[in-house]
């Protein structure tokens, strides 16, 4: 029976926004652009809150790494039912180069500090699509992992996780403590209710620095250049099937 769940929530550019590359090709435009909680993180929060409602978990702690603005994301998690939040302060260049390796080190350190026995994360973030943080966190803690979860069930001190894999569904049983990453069909996140939004105001968010957790934020990756995907070219119309086959052969496709 897991006492404390850590849920990672990432502040990303809203899924509905049209992404624009910065003129200097160093990244995408984020100033003045609408941000919201990563959709897979929402699913992770929902799962954690449901576990608490089923009394399988005592406390849900929402964690986010970034500048002041990520507090909005933490508060959204609190409005969905998380009990308290932890804001790991990362800003400026450190934030620009923040990636799965650093975040997983932070989460591992927090899990030990908070004595969490379950970590639930989104399977990936919609901005970088890394799909690494959950796996790295589990490895750093030497905990088992149930990734791409479409169903999670607590069975004593074990977790039964049904994973979505290319071939279909895989069911595994892992010991707690463990890391789970949420896939799309795990659940449908709730809308924050007005009373919960009011309650969220009173819930505590503690500030922590990566240095306090003994985490080095130096990145091992350097972004060289960011470009837009190539513009979609116009197609070519042909008169007959023979023409089509001819053109495909010309283009080396068949």
């Amino acid at each position: 029976m897991a006492a404390r769940v850590l849920v990672g929530v990432k502040r990303v550019i809203d899924y509905a926004v049209k992404i624009r590359v910065k003129p200097d090709n160093t990244g995408v435009v984020t100033d003045g652009v609408k941000h919201s909680m990563n959709p897979f993180c929402e699913i992770a929060v929902e799962e954690a809150v449901r576990l608490k409602e089923k009394k399988l978990v005592k406390e849900v702690v929402a964690v986010s790494c970034g500048p002041q603005q990520v507090q909005e994301t933490i508060r959204t998690a609190l409005a969905m039912g998380a009990d308290r939040g932890i804001h790991v302060e990362v800003s400026g260049k450190d934030y620009d180069s923040l990636g799965p390796l650093q975040v997983s080190k932070i989460l591992a350190a927090l899990a030990k500090k908070e004595e969490a026995s379950l970590i639930i994360l989104g399977k990936q973030a919609i901005d970088d699509d890394c799909n690494q943080t959950g796996q790295m966190t589990a490895a750093l803690l030497d905990w088992p992992q149930g990734t791409f979860a479409s169903e999670v069930a607590v069975e004593g001190d074990k977790l039964k996780v049904i994973r979505e894999v290319d071939g279909g569904l895989e069911t595994i049983k892992i010991n707690l403590p463990a890391v789970v990453t949420a896939d799309l069909r795990l659940n449908t996140p709730r809308y924050a209710t007005l009373p919960n939004i009011m309650k969220a105001k009173k819930k505590k968010i503690t500030n922590v620095k990566p240095g306090d957790l003994g985490v080095d934020l130096t990145s091992r990756l350097e972004v060289l250049r960011v470009d837009e995907p190539p513009q979609r070219q116009a197609g070519v119309k042909v008169e007959t099937v023979e023409d089509l086959v001819g053109k495909l052969k010309e283009a080396g496709r068949i």
Binding site: S36, E72, R75, T76, A79, Y191, A192, T193, L194, P195, I197, M198, A200, K201
Partner: protein
Amino acid sequence: FCTLSQFFGKWGSLAMAVNYGTRSLTQLAELPELHQMLRQTCRDYAEKELAPVAGQLDKNHTFPAKQVRELGAMGVMAVEVPESLGGAGMDYLAYSLAVEELSRGCASTGVIVSVNNSLYLGPVLAFGTEEQKQQWISPFTTGEKVGCFALSEPGNGSDAGAASTLARQEGDEWVLNGTKAWITNCWDASAAVVFATTDKSLKHKGISAFLVPMPHPGLSLGKKEDKLGIRASSTANLILEDCRIPLGNLLGQRGMGFKIGMQTLDSGRIGIASQALGIAQAALDCAADYAHKRTAFGAPIARLQAIQFKLADMAVALESARLLTWKAAMLRDAKKPYSKAAAMAKLAASEAATFVSHQAIQVLGGMGYVTDMPAERHYRDARITEIYEGTSEIQRLVIANQVLKEYQQ
């Protein structure tokens, strides 16, 4: 000499500005975090659950029962009602934001939420006894039950003081007789606030308000009106024929009815202004998006000044009406006089809604005229906002009255 930024810096957080109850300019420019979260959750709900079905709801005149229940669970059906009675315990600015965002998705749902909050729960909260609040408020906060407001009659709308529905006392009962017209929600409601004349000689001071459960013997409903817009919301006559209710169903005191009605409508005005803002915003969204995509004369029509000027005028009309609406809500929250502000808000917002939706169809051209695009629905939905809960003409009278008072000789 104190600069503006120093002045506002003194007030610290925006939340503090709310608590002081002052009309803070910074609050008009940027909402407090609580309100931003509320706005976001209502916007998310409207985008995902209302906008996709709004067309169907309108076409089939279907009451959005499932959505109303979900909104009840979110606390939106009783925003201002204290938590002890099952409400969300938030302020009127929050309620205005909620109605605007929901109306942006579906105007019918917006008015259903607004009528329940402002016209039904509002008067019971303001004038009800503790017992009445328990009986008539708590069940109506969850979305399972909605209420309605019966003031207008076939013979008088704007002329509310001439209520011809009569109520007489007979032993330990009130007996109501008469017909009420244009009652929003009535086919789906479980209770009504009904206004009837108890003392004809006292003219408008002889009107009283009553709480009537629905269904109830002696109360029947007229046919559902076939309306131009907000078709998912039911509108019909309420017919009272020797409708008997307990004496305890009198709301407030005998003869207080007109005051209750007018005070309720003052608040309700802010709700309807918010609904109009939502409709206007949806129409503007539709037009601006289309302008980017539609090409003519070799480029997106967004490049044409004729279209740009329209969009600019639409945006200004909408934003100014929104600030008037927020101001009215904030005045009410600060317990300051807000009649003039509310009338100005309703007037500006409803005229903005009709203007913006009219121009939106123009921007869309032929596409604006067909049901494939929502522009035609916004146009039809917008029209009623200039009529119900006080016509634009009545609003002008209220505003003029207030203005002239300020210059009293």
